[in-house]
Symmetry: C2
Subunit: 203 residues, 2 copies
Amino acid sequence: MERSRSARHAVTSRTIEENAVRLVLEHGLDAVTVDMICEAAGISQRTFFNHFPTKIDAIVGAAGPKVDEAAVRRFLASSSPDLVGDLLELVMHLAPGDPSNPGLMEARWRLITTTPALLQLEMDRMISVQREMVDILVMRLTRHANSGETPEEIRDQADLLSHLVAGMIRFSIEAPGPRRMPGPINLERTRAVLRQLLPKLVD
Amino acid sequence: MERSRSARHAVTSRTIEENAVRLVLEHGLDAVTVDMICEAAGISQRTFFNHFPTKIDAIVGAAGPKVDEAAVRRFLASSSPDLVGDLLELVMHLAPGDPSNPGLMEARWRLITTTPALLQLEMDRMISVQREMVDILVMRLTRHANSGETPEEIRDQADLLSHLVAGMIRFSIEAPGPRRMPGPINLERTRAVLRQLLPKLVD
DNA sequence: ACAGACAATTACAGTCCCTGCACTTTGAGA
DNA sequence: TCTCAAAGTGCAGGGACTGTAATTGTCTGT
């Protein structure tokens, strides 16, 4: 059992994560205690909390969703007037965590989508990318800005828009219909409803 | 100290709430334990949890924000084409809890707005009115629907719109500038930014 | 190769939030 | 007045999480 120090740390984290997800899939969120996960993973409770700050983190993954860099570049390069369409494309590429363990990732999504409390939580985490999105939106809006708009106004618009996008994400998650796996986004439906709704909002 | 039974219950709740808010204002959220609140209120811990399901509930109030009935009636009666404007008016009348104790209410807002964790939490509670808003939006959208739209489409639109409104609320709370007291909504700013932004979203 | 720095892990004790249960007290209705 | 339900209490315990000191094994410089 000779392993490098950091490798040993990583393998312990993986073991914890895998056992946490498996146990919760089997018994449900509330029925699984940290002690159960520790025993299954063969570690002490203290070690558990050295790897993950909370029980939830071990279950849903410590790293939240991130925006895909390539998708951001495409979004910024696009000169299409269809800002909303481009935006939805960008949101669709929210990477749902570390893709190095496809099996774990898939199991996690099954777990999250079948546990209301976890779905709510993951929704909040997805929406937290809204913060990083503001700067991206500022760039895009600046390129297509009307003359006479100040940078402050642009930033306000980007800020508000990022919150509207967060709303779209929530709708996409809750809306029924086919989803892109392993993510929960229902893109087509959202796009269709938006096309009907938006014209009604401008007077 | 002879009081009717239910009145005694109410006064205990009030005592707990007042001491909870006061102590957290003095010492901060994490530094105040349930035991401290109980001692200050002169009750047992068990009684505390008979009145409030969690420590947080005693601090921010068990009843979340509600939409104002009169505002809803006005919103539905309006025939203005400015749906967004009417919507913001409606949102502005989110009642921030029981108005029977103005002092407590004011102290709570001071507490919530100065404690990031509580602000985040209260934001979630305000946004939960989004659920009740869907039915209201269905009525309004039905009255101004284009011919050929099915009830299902209308409901989808209302659902998405309610999520967009939730985004507006978040923006309103975070946006700097004057707020309506004791609520956190910055109405004018949101309206102005929306007027600039929305035309850019329709192609 | 050896010693010391250092990282991963552990056992243990303790805090805090919260719950279930059995019990007492007290006010309200018959 | 008698009775019963509601309000409150005491206690025992579960479960998440933290601080600390100790242990084990690995890395680094010489």
